[in-house]
């Protein structure tokens, strides 16, 4: 309600000056429509402007805080929609609509001498509500009847796909059941694996026989197949990409509801909603985001009085942002709340015996501890707990998507959670390595560099391997110890993994090159092994584990390795 305190109270006269002519126009047009319908005319040309005008009145009323008028205009828009779509509803609905527009004009007019009283349109709104509900069954039946019989047969024959006919008569877009897309993707994965098998067989053939004309022909055919599969992959992935906005859209409401129940003032701002991700990722990223956003409202953001005392605006802002970086999408959830408490996190981590191995851990390393199971539900860092969901659970669901979760924070200023997600979940560009006679795939996006290990560059500092790399001292882990494959031995290569916190080296026996591998989820019976994100089938038909490089780089499984040593 526009009280004298409303920021736009001074503009009330201006509001009437703008909206009254509009409202009167609506009355006029609705009367014309009613007449036209009575005479059996369609008068469709009148519809569109009417809707636009109602929309403007609604928007203006909303800005002025005139909620009664806003609701009335909104309800008239709903009614308009039904009348426009369903001629059968016009007999009963037209008069109702005309009456409503008259009421709207009266209320706008009355606003000149102050906002209309609350509930001025209640009776009418109830009547519209009853009309919209009571008639729905009959309306739906009528709509079904209008569809041509052959269209209905077509739908029955092929219930998973439907089409829209373009202007030239050709089908411009078709709607396909997403399960069919999944099946297509699975078949593609099988083709990729068969292709890899073919490549492996060819490699061995090549070794035995030298180049012959037949071999050259095979080689060419194989190259053609390579290219075709690449294109197929691109096209297939493209059909599966959806804008992340489809997920973001539900959070405005979530933030409002949670903020309301917590007595806080929070606004959600969204950017980068156009960023596209694979449907599977879109489907599965919503849940973790709900937890992060809910946590931010409940624990990250201070009460309005506390915020004011700290010199912040009473209303907090949570920003949800998506950006694409090469073949990754980064989603961030940022709040301008109180920030994480590094001391509290360290204290708690020590209490559960998970203190970092490093003497003076960096802030990033401390924050990474927040993802340990059992830590984020503690009281000291109650910021991180929320409705029973710990951050470890959120991190795990992100890892299941071959992504990773990191956090940054500035005390008193706010916290940012970053989710790095693959664009697609099906095919992963990866580096294949061998450690203690087992092969592992490492997502290429997380590999900063591979280097030949010079023994003199390796050091042991307090049982922690260290290596100088590009003038920086980075921790290194023995692949065998880490992956339980056998005792440390002199390994020839070091894969430098990047993470939000710092670089970290993984020592391996050999590098087997870059491969596009088909990602297969781990069976739940395997539990949640900390170092493994997924699995794949290599060219020779053997399974290889895809390592969770994000987690390795953050040193999350390091305690396992040191315990084993």
């Amino acid at each position: 309600m526009t009280g004298p305190d409303h920021p736009f109270a001074a503009l009330l006269a201006e509001y009437v000056a703008e909206c009254l002519p509009l409202a009167e126009e609506v009355v006029e047009q609705s009367l014309t429509l009613e007449r036209a319908w009575r005479d059996g005319q369609q008068a469709d040309d009148l519809f569109r402007p009417l809707k636009g005008t109602l929309h403007t009145i609604k928007g203006n009323s909303a800005m002025m805080g005139l909620t009664g008028l806003q609701t009335l205009a909104h309800r008239l828009e709903d009614l308009w929609g039904v009348l426009a779509d369903e001629p059968a509803s016009r007999d009963a609905g037209a008069a109702l609509f005309v009456r409503g527009t008259g009421l709207l004009a009266d209320l706008v007019r009355a606003t000149a001498s102050g906002p209309p009283p609350e509930g001025a349109a209640t009776d009418y709104l109830e009547e519209v509500g009853a009309f919209l509900v009571s008639d729905r069954g009959a309306r739906e039946a009528a709509r079904e009847e209008r569809r041509s019989p052959d269209r209905r047969t077509a739908d029955r024959r092929n219930p998973t796909a439907s089409g829209e006919i373009g202007a030239d008569g050709a089908v411009a877009t078709i709607r396909v059941d997403s399960r069919r897309l999944d099946a297509l993707l699975e078949s593609f994965g099988e083709a990729m694996i068969a292709h890899a098998g073919l490549g492996e067989a060819m490699r061995q053939l090549n070794v035995r026989r030298r180049s012959t004309a037949e071999m050259a022909q095979l080689e060419r055919a194989m190259l053609g197949l390579d290219r075709t599969l690449k294109r197929l992959e691109g096209a297939l992935m493209e059909t599966r990409l959806l804008p992340i906005a489809t997920v973001f859209s539900r959070f405005t409401r979530l933030v409002r509801d949670v903020a309301h129940s917590e007595g806080k003032q929070v606004r959600l701002e969204v950017a980068g909603g156009e960023t596209r991700l694979d449907k599977t990722v879109i489907d599965r990223v919503g849940e973790p985001l709900v937890h992060l956003i809910t946590n931010a409202v409940i624990h990250g953001i201070e009460r309005p009085d506390e915020r004011l005392a700290r010199g912040k605006a009473a209303e907090a802002v949570i920003t949800l942002r998506a950006v694409q970086r090469s073949d990754r999408v980064i989603l961030t959830v940022t709040d301008d709340g109180r920030g994480l408490d590094p001391e509290g996190i360290l204290r708690k981590a020590r209490a559960i015996g998970q203190a970092p191995a490093v003497e003076t851990p960096s802030l990033a390393e401390i924050y990474a501890l927040a993802f340990l199971p059992g830590l984020s539900t503690s009281e000291q860092v109650s910021h991180l707990s929320g409705r029973g969901v710990g951050l470890d659970v959120v991190a795990n669901s992100i890892r299941a998507l071959s992504g990773n979760l990191s956090v940054g924070s500035e005390p008193g200023r706010g916290t940012t959670f970053s989710l790095r997600l693959p664009l697609t979940v099906a095919v992963l560009r990866s580096l294949l390595v061998e450690v203690s006679c087992e092969r592992y795939a490492l997502p290429l996006a997380d590999v900063a560099e591979t280097v030949r290990v010079h023994p003199e560059a390796l050091h042991q500092v307090a049982r922690q391997g260290m290596m100088t790399w590009r003038g920086e001292v980075i921790p290194v882990m023995d692949g065998g110890l880490l992956l339980g494959g056998g005792a440390a031995q002199s390994r020839r290569y070091c894969v430098v993994l990047r993470s939000a916190a710092r670089h970290r080296g993984l020592l391996v026996d050999s590098l087997l090159g870059h491969h596009e591998v088909v990602v297969k989820a781990l069976d739940p019976s395997l539990g949640r092994p900390p170092a493994v994100a997924a699995a794949t089938i290599l060219g020779d038909g053997r399974v290889a584990c895809i390592l969770d490089t994000g987690r390795l780089a953050d040193g999350w499984v390091e305690p396992v390795a040191t315990a084993a040593s």
């Binding site: 736009f8 503009l11 703008e18 929309h55 203006n60 489809t246 701002e269």
Partner: protein, 135 residues
């Protein structure tokens, strides 16, 4: 936050006055406000003013609506450094997605409070200064 130059493209006079009210107070007092009442007139002003701090663009307008404005700007790559905020009434997710896809920098949903608009301007201008600081 410093005063700047803002373009308001909206077919509602009332809204122009609201913007005027908001920009006449606080830190942004002294800002220059340019007004256009439909998309086409707005686009002409936009072309002439690469120095704009933020453009507030209504979605529903006669002559050229907000989306058409954005599409043309995208096609012509006109002043990509200027953040354009799309202003809508109860937009659907699809609207938002389309707007952002068409290059809108942000979204403002009617009804909005003056503080909301100010916060958006703050973020938009800090983005600008970052851009200048790190070319």
């Amino acid at each position: 936050m410093n005063p700047g130059t803002f373009l308001v493209v909206d077919d509602s006079k009332l809204h122009h006055q609201m913007y005027q009210l908001i920009f006449s107070r606080g830190e942004l007092a002294g800002s220059t406000l340019l007004h256009a009442y439909d998309g086409r007139a707005g686009y002409e002003l936009f072309m002439a003013h690469p120095e704009l701090t933020v453009v507030f663009l209504d979605l529903n307008m006669p002559v050229m609506n907000g989306l058409e404005f954005l599409h043309r700007r995208q096609a012509e790559r006109l002043h990509p450094q200027v953040p354009v905020v799309l202003v809508t009434t109860e937009s659907t997710a699809e609207d938002e997605a389309r707007g952002l896809e068409a290059g809108a920098w942000g979204y403002l949903c009617k009804p909005f409070a003056p503080e909301q608009l100010l916060a958006l301007v703050g973020r938009a201008s800090s983005r600008l200064s970052q851009r200048i600081a790190r070319p």
